[in-house]
C-alpha cells in the first residue's frame, strides 16, 4: 500500500455522470477521499471532545462509583443477603447479566471474524467498533460473575494454580469449563482487536504529539508499513479470524451448559447450546447498531464512514438472526413440552401465566414481532434511529429471555414446598453500574483508539472502482488481500 496505488479521485471528480454520483453517495467504498484527508478526519474525531462528552462522562463515572464499586463493597461486607437471592433462586440477576454481556460480546467476533472470512465488504468501517464491544462486554461479564460469588476474595481458587495442597479446579464442573472458555475468549478477542489496530496506531503515532505520541508509539510496536510487516500482519489476522470463530461458538455453548447440564426442569434441554449462540448474536447485533447509531450521531466525521448502507446490511443480518432465534425458541419450547415431565409442564405454564408472564410475552414481542415488522423494509432498516430502537428492544427482550431462564425458571423445582419468586434488591444499582461502566469504557476508548479502521476502509476503496462499459456504470472489484 503505497501512495502511488491510491485511486486518483481528484482527476475524475469533475466528470462523472449522475449514476456514478448516486453510487458514490450511497457506498463508502466507492466514495474515496485522499488518504491524508481521511486519516486527519479520524484523528480529529478522536481529539475533538465537547463539554457534552465530559458531562456524560462525569455522570457515568458517578454511576459507576456508586452503583458498581460502592454497592459492591456493601455486598462483599454484608454478604449475598443484600441481593435478592434465596432458596430456591440461588442464581439471580448477576448471572443474567453475565449471560447477557457474553451475548453482547459475540457480535464483535461475528462481525469482524465471520464477515472477514466471508469477505463481506460492508463490514469494513465498523469492525473495530464491534470488536471493542466484545472486549468491554466480556469485562462486564467477568465483573458480574465475581459479584455473584459468596466469597469473591477466594475467587483465585477457581484458577488452576500450583498450590501446596495440590488441589486443582474440578474439571467436571460446567463452571470450570465456563471460566476456561471465557478466559480464552477474552484473551483471543483482545489479541484479535489489537492486530488490525497496529497500522492505525502507527498512523496515529505519525500524526500526534505529546503524550498521545508516546501512547501510540508503544502500541504501534514500531510498525512502519513495510511489505514484510503487512504480510505478517495479514497472516496473523487470517489465522485469528479462522481460529476465533470456533472459540466464539464454543463460549456461548459452554455458557449454556451451565444450565443444560444441571438437573433442573426448564434447564435440562439439549437444544440450549445453539439456542444460546443465536440468542447471543441476536442481542449482539442489536447492540452493534445501537453503538453505530450513537457514534454516527455524536462523533465528528462519522457520517462519512458509517452510512445508511451499513445499517441496511446489518438490518438484514438482524432479521435472519431474529428468525433463527424464533426457530430455536420454538424448538426448545416444543421439545421441553413434548418431554412430558410434570415439573417442566408446570414451569412452561408458569412462564406465560405466572406473575412474570408479561415478561414472557414482552420477550416475544421485542425479539420477534418488532424486528420482523420493521426490518423487512429496505427504507426502514436503513434509518439509523429507527434501527437503534429496534436494537434497543432486542436487547431488552434478550435480557428478559435470560431473566426468564434463570430466576423465573428456578422458581419451579421438584420440591413445591420451596417455591418462591425472586425479588431483586442490590442487583439493580449494580446492573446499572455495569452498564455505565461499559459505556464509560467505550467512551474512553473512542478518545484513544481510532474507532474506524482507516486502513481497512482505504484498502476497500482501492479495490472497488466504478467502471463504465458502454452506457452502463458498474462496480468492479480487483482482487483483495
Amino acid at each position: 500500500m503505497s501512495d502511488q496505488n491510491k485511486p486518483s479521485v481528484q482527476g475524475t471528480a469533475g466528470h462523472h455522470d449522475h449514476g456514478e454520483e448516486h453510487f458514490r453517495e450511497k457506498h463508502l467504498l466507492l466514495d474515496p477521499l485522499p488518504r491524508g484527508e481521511m486519516n486527519a478526519m479520524v484523528m480529529e474525531s478522536m481529539q475533538t471532545t465537547s463539554w457534552r462528552f465530559w458531562l456524560v462522562f462525569a455522570i457515568l463515572s458517578a454511576i459507576v462509583v456508586y452503583g458498581l464499586f460502592y454497592k459492591w463493597g456493601v455486598l462483599i461486607l454484608k454478604g449475598q443477603g443484600e441481593a435478592g437471592v434465596m432458596r430456591p433462586d440461588y442464581w439471580g440477576i448477576f448471572l443474567v447479566n453475565t449471560v447477557f454481556w457474553i451475548g453482547i460480546s459475540h457480535a464483535g467476533t461475528f462481525i469482524s471474524a465471520i464477515l472477514r472470512v466471508f469477505k463481506a465488504e460492508f463490514r469494513r468501517p465498523f469492525t473495530r467498533a464491534a470488536e471493542l464491544m466484545t472486549t468491554f462486554g466480556l469485562v462486564q461479564a467477568g465483573f458480574s460473575v465475581f459479584m455473584h460469588m459468596g466469597r469473591v476474595w477466594l475467587a483465585y481458587w477457581l484458577f488452576p494454580y500450583a498450590n501446596q495442597r495440590m488441589l486443582w479446579p474440578n474439571l467436571h464442573s460446567p463452571l470450570t469449563w465456563d471460566l476456561l472458555a471465557i478466559t480464552t475468549y477474552l484473551l483471543s478477542s483482545t489479541m484479535y482487536l489489537f492486530l488490525p489496530l497496529i497500522p492505525d496506531m502507527a498512523m496515529a503515532r505519525d500524526r500526534s504529539t505529546g503524550w498521545r505520541k508516546t501512547f501510540y508509539k508503544i502500541l504501534a510496536l514500531g510498525f512502519r508499513g513495510t511489505e514484510g510487516e503487512w504480510t505478517h500482519l495479514r497472516n496473523a489476522m487470517n489465522i485469528f479470524a479462522f481460529a476465533i470463530i470456533p472459540v466464539m461458538f464454543s463460549v456461548h455453548t459452554i455458557v449454556s451448559w451451565d444450565f443444560a447440564a444441571a438437573t433442573r426442569p426448564g434447564w435440562n434441554s439439549t437444544i440450549f447450546g445453539p439456542y444460546f449462540v443465536v440468542g447471543a448474536l441476536h442481542s449482539g447485533m442489536g447492540a452493534v447498531v445501537m453503538v453505530l447509531a450513537i457514534v454516527r450521531g455524536t462523533m465528528k466525521h462519522m457520517k462519512y464512514f458509517i452510512r445508511p448502507e451499513h445499517f441496511e446490511a446489518i438490518g438484514k443480518l438482524m432479521l435472519i438472526i431474529s428468525m433463527g432465534w424464533a426457530y430455536f425458541f420454538f424448538n426448545d419450547y416444543l421439545v421441553q413440552w413434548y418431554g412430558g415431565d410434570k415439573w417442566t409442564k408446570q414451569l412452561l405454564h408458569f412462564h406465560e401465566a405466572g406473575p412474570l408472564g408479561w415478561m414472557w410475552f414482552a420477550m416475544l414481542v421485542f425479539n420477534v414481532v418488532i424486528p420482523w415488522s420493521v426490518l423487512w423494509n429496505h427504507k426502514w432498516r436503513s434509518s439509523p434511529w429507527l434501527i437503534f430502537f429496534v436494537g434497543l428492544f432486542i436487547n431488552v427482550g434478550m435480557w428478559f429471555e435470560r431473566y426468564i431462564i434463570i430466576p423465573v425458571s428456578v422458581t419451579i423445582n421438584r420440591m413445591p414446598f420451596t417455591w418462591r419468586l425472586y425479588e431483586p434488591a442490590i442487583e439493580i444499582p449494580m446492573s446499572i453500574g455495569t452498564l455505565a461502566l461499559f459505556i464509560l469504557l467505550y467512551m474512553a476508548a473512542s478518545r484513544l483508539v481510532p474507532l474506524i479502521p482507516v486502513w481497512e476502509v482505504q484498502e476497500g476503496q482501492m479495490a472497488h472502482k466504478l467502471t463504465r462499459f458502454g452506457r452502463k456504470t458498474v462496480v468492479t472489484v480487483s482482487e483483495l488481500e
Partner: protein, 243 residues
C-alpha cells in the same frame, strides 16, 4: 416381566453405608427434629425477615401440603426433608472448587466449608433443595454462643452448608468403638433429629448391614419410597407413607 432388561447392579459406593428411614404415618410434625438439628449443628438464626424471604437455615425441614380444593382440604402427613446423602449426588460434580465431595470412608456427601467460594451451583442442582447458604454473617445473641457444639464448625458468611447425618457423632462413636477394640453396634448412637423425635418416626443406622434396625424396617414395611429416585440420585433416605 421382561427378562431382557438388565438388573442394575449398584457398586458398594452407590448403595451407601449410613441411611435413614422415616415413617411419615407416625410423624406428628412437631418440629423437634428441626430444633435438635439446629442445636447440634450450630445453625445460625437468620431472623424473622430473612426467614420470611426463604433464607431460613435448617438442615431438616418438615414439609406439609394441602390436598384437594376448599372446603374439602386435607393436610398431607409431615414430610421431614433433609440431605438425602445421594450415592450419585448431582451437587458433587458441579462444584468448581471441590468443596462438595463424596467421602469414601462414610459414603456421605461432604461439604468442605473452608473450600467453598459460594458459587451456589450445588444448591441449584440439588433436586431436593436441602442446601442452606450463609447469606450473611448472622449474629447469635447472648447467651446462645454458650450453647455452641464444640464438635461442629461454625460457618461464616458466603459458604454453603447442609445436613451431614451428624458426622461428628458417627466419628465419636467409631473412635470409641475402636479404642475399646470392638465393632460399632447398631443403635449405639443416632443423629440429633432421630434422637429428638418423640414419635420415633426417624431411625438412623447402617443400610448396608441386613440385620440393622433400618434394614429390618425397610424389609418389614416393604413399600418404602425414595424421593425423586427416577433422577438416578440413589438417595439413602427411605420414606414410609400410608402403611
Amino acid at each position: 416381566m421382561n427378562s431382557k432388561i438388565p438388573e442394575i447392579k449398584l457398586s458398594e459406593e452407590q448403595t451407601g453405608k449410613w441411611g435413614m428411614v422415616i415413617d411419615q404415618d407416625i410423624c406428628t410434625g412437631c418440629q423437634a427434629c428441626v430444633a435438635a438439628c439446629a442445636m447440634e449443628n450450630n445453625l445460625s438464626f437468620v431472623g424473622e425477615v430473612d426467614a420470611g424471604y426463604g433464607r431460613s437455615m435448617h438442615w431438616i425441614r418438615i414439609e406439609r401440603f394441602w390436598e384437594g380444593e376448599y372446603p374439602e382440604v386435607k393436610m398431607t402427613p409431615g414430610q421431614p426433608m433433609m440431605c438425602q446423602q445421594c450415592g450419585s449426588a448431582p451437587c458433587e460434580p458441579v462444584c468448581p472448587a471441590f468443596a462438595t465431595v463424596h467421602s469414601q470412608a462414610e459414603q456421605l456427601n461432604l461439604q468442605v466449608y473452608n473450600r467453598c467460594v459460594g458459587t451456589r451451583y450445588c444448591a441449584n442442582n440439588c433436586p431436593y433443595q436441602v442446601r442452606s447458604f450463609n447469606w450473611r454473617d448472622y449474629v447469635r445473641p447472648e447467651p446462645l454462643p454458650n450453647q455452641l457444639n464444640p464438635d461442629v464448625t461454625v460457618r461464616r458468611m458466603g459458604v454453603m452448608e447442609k445436613c451431614t447425618f451428624c458426622i461428628q457423632r458417627i466419628h465419636k462413636a467409631e473412635d470409641k468403638a475402636k479404642s475399646e477394640g470392638r465393632e460399632l453396634t447398631d443403635g449405639e448412637f443416632t443423629t440429633a433429629c432421630a434422637q429428638a423425635c418423640p414419635a420415633n418416626a426417624i431411625t438412623f443406622g447402617r443400610i448396608d448391614q441386613p440385620e440393622s434396625l433400618v434394614s429390618q424396617l425397610i424389609r418389614k414395611h416393604g413399600h418404602g419410597v425414595k424421593h425423586l429416585e427416577e433422577l438416578g440420585t440413589l438417595p439413602s433416605v427411605t420414606y414410609f407413607k400410608g402403611g
